[in-house]
Subunit: 376 residues, 3 copies
């Protein structure tokens, strides 16, 4: 399965995580090949899925296998080559020339941005997760000191990062407040959170007042704020992860200098496109398609192209742990957008050069424009 | 209009109702050819619709008519052959080899599972509706005795059934509780319900506490719980029938031994696919397409194939009353999935044998696996 | 880019606004070429968008340009010809034979229905906006007199109009009440509104009680009530503009004699189709596609054809200010519906004559039936 007409377009992957830097058992591999937190239902297999199908067809040949290889042969060959060689081959085949690596979900053996740079031979820059920073400072802070401690750590981490990400969707949903919660509101909410956390040693932050304040701290730094939208793991309640809920927040931040990047967006791609149409400071990607939609990824790319200005779409893989995910995502994006642009040229909507220009913009140019970081 | 490449795949229809066992007037036929509870708008016709179009093209030739027959000729021929011959021909042409018949909406002349078995010459098993059982025991129960009376009747009916169904979506929406409402909560809610019901002789159950308890009774029996999702008759408020709302309930029931089957799912097919991806105990079908999407059914099948593991999709007709609905549904499913799998084979995603395997799984194998009933 | 097989079908545009009757600067033109209220993001261009692409390809040749003209050349030629000639050519090319012009958003130089009739040479009738009438009477009314004053002005304006429109979606969302708010409730709400309005000289009406009462006044006049649904400018919060929220209101108005026309409906086209399927008094259009979906408009037309009876779909351009929008909308509708109907004929679903009949119904016949105005 080839990458189609856009095979030579360089990609700036504006949202991904690190690969896992060791060999994996079959069970571990399958655990990374789904957003589910649990094993498959009895009588079903994880790789009998859109991702499984796409992964073997796209990655098999890069590992010298027939494209219709079996899962067993694929995993055997993967073991034989070893994770380094597999990673080297798959990242190179993806044509990704820059990675923005979100580091907020650290796990043993997951590559840092620096390691991703070395493994890929391309620049890799860091995006920090607001909630992770809050949870990092929590054990040694106080309700009254929380915001200052959080901001100090955020500023320290931002010296080495190009943006922030929030997983509000996983924690309390996307009803972010129209203005920063006050210090008094935050102190009250932090007192409750820290009390429970210190009793349970579980510092997961989920209070909506606190999350809103974290995001507003990001906004005040006039940086890019990535927002997880829609499909993710089972922590998400989808209806609370509808980006429409961000509307009051988006109105309030329009002239702040911050830019908002909506991530993944499935099944709310149309809602995300509308917000990117309406608000000058909103961009979006359809990275959910990267691993999980497999052969259906083009359908979602088409949705993303329905209403938003073409300068507002971004490429991202949302890859995590498996090197396969970077390549599957990149290939599906190239094929899907390529087929659509070819159709538009054939039907008379675009001149060929215009199609090339839009492909280059969505592949990398828009992200370069967005992350250049000059606030308006 | 033929059934395409999957014409020989046996179907296990995991959610349908019974045919009506008598001849119908034109008005009665049209009443069963829509989910609307009322006659058509002035100047419009019920059969000028996706179902009308699909019904005549697919069923006409089976009744010896030209596929572009008129509604008048179709209904005339139907009358001429008589309902028994029409039913015999259309069910046989559907290639359905097993029926799970939901009996919770009894109406005069609607076939029971036993009668469906005789009419079709294939096994037909029963699914019971929780709300109907509650309404059955209501006139002779008390607030304190309601749960015990309900459970006794449920257990009696389950001796002869393969699962339960809830129409919570029609009654109170899908915000089912994360744990069974307590006996005290149920008694209080039942007191209000039974008081009003005995005064009005209208025993329709709609209280969210009571509905949640009914569903939890189903869960505790470690059986399949079918959940109506999305489009149905005008009792549904669609936004309350979004399966995303089930997320807390799904988290809470994951290890219960019950399995959840989301029915119809239109226009929330993507949300249903995500839930089937995330939760090992969730399956889904797109039975809304059976009669009502007509030529557009393939679009919805494509949505169902976007993210869920292929072991989690089920076939269902949701047919009710009209024998046409079983055949239209089966034909549209065969054509739609067949075209998609052919495309995936042609584009290199699937080996032909793999496509056949997935078709057989979705047509019947997954339902056999699901309804085999061994709780995990 | 031609209009395809339906190029000769007459269109009744049941929802549009007036063209702007003067020449425009480039910035003004771009301001009308987006639903955004603000300029584009740095580094992006308004016309690098689906509308921009469609507009130049469709309208360029009508202004004697190559279809792959540049924005600069297009705007230059537009200036050269002058707005009258541009308007004359583009409206004529659209094949629209009747306009229902909504006049609730008056702006300098925007054509009235009478002017639209003169510019196009075709009948143009008026639709009045409920909220605009309320805001018109507000400065000279009292809380106790508001309803009577509103109704007097509404009746006066309805003498010259074929229906009313509500922008409840922009003001308070679509949770319209199941019955008219009482006089006491309205008086209380009006007191608050008028107090603030007279203090601020800003008479924008947004109170849900007041909006519901306005809509019920429309219902009581047994006319067509157009309801803005979904995508619009940044005043809309999309999740509150989901037409599912209208369900209780639709149940309550079913036998009122009023007919409800859902406008635009993106991204809730499927929800709108379901409501038109269920409720005899509900119609809908997909006018959002007119300017903003560009090459993707056919996707949305396909959604509109999934479940609703074909007698319930309407054509509308939702054009505003730019003559280009009437032609782009009409061309996309002709191409999109034409391609779908051709496909259905080719696949055996429709006889050619039946396809022609459905095209004529959706293009104009359904709207003629709807706006004929005989309440049931």
């Amino acid at each position: 399965v080839s990458a189609g007409p856009l095979s030579a377009v360089p990609l700036l992957d504006h949202h991904c995580h690190g690969v896992v830097q060791r060999n994996l058992t079959e069970e571990e591999f399958e655990g990374y090949a789904t957003e589910s937190d649990w094993g498959p239902a009895p009588g079903t297999k994880v790789l009998d899925s859109p991702f499984g199908v796409a992964m073997m067809r796209i990655c098999g040949p890069v590992l010298d296998l027939h494209r219709l290889t079996s899962p067993e042969d694929y995993l055997g060959r993967r073991q034989e080559l070893g994770w380094q060689e597999v990673t080297r081959r798959l990242l190179a085949a993806s044509g990704t020339t820059e990675y923005l690596v979100e580091t907020g979900f650290p796990a043993p053996a997951i590559a840092s941005p620096g390691q991703m740079g070395q493994l890929s031979g391309h620049p890799a820059r860091r995006v920090v997760r607001l909630e992770t920073i809050a949870e990092l400072v929590a054990p040694a802070t106080s309700p009254a000191g929380f915001v200052a401690d959080f901001e100090a750590e955020l500023d320290r981490q931002l010296r080495d990062a190009v943006g922030v990400k929030t997983v509000a969707a996983y924690r309390c949903g996307l009803d972010l407040t129209e203005r920063p919660p006050s210090d008094a509101e935050v102190e009250r909410a932090a007192a409750g959170w820290l009390r429970t956390a210190s009793q349970t040693s579980r510092y997961r932050i989920a209070d909506p007042t606190l999350i809103s304040r974290l995001v507003w701290c990001g906004v005040e730094r006039r940086t890019v704020v990535q927002v997880h939208v829609g499909f993710g793991d089972a922590d998400v309640r989808l209806d609370l992860a509808d980006p429409s809920r961000l509307t009051p927040f988006l109105r309030a931040t329009r002239t702040s200098g911050a830019r908002i990047a909506l991530l993944h967006c499935y099944p709310f791609v149309r809602q995300a496109g509308i917000l990117a149409h309406l608000f000058p400071h909103v961009w979006f990607d359809v990275s959910c398609l990267s691993h999980y939609a497999g052969p259906s990824a083009p359908t979602l790319i088409r949705q993303a192209m329905e209403t938003a200005p073409f300068g507002k779409l971004l490429y991202a893989s949302d890859a995590y742990a498996l090197a396969e995910q970077y390549l599957v995502s990149a290939t599906l994006w190239r094929r899907g957008l390529g087929a659509l642009l070819e159709e538009w040229v054939r039907d008379g909507w675009l001149a060929p050069g215009q199609a090339d220009r839009y492909a280059a913009m969505i592949g990398a140019g828009n992200a370069q424009n967005l992350y250049r970081g000059d606030p308006r």
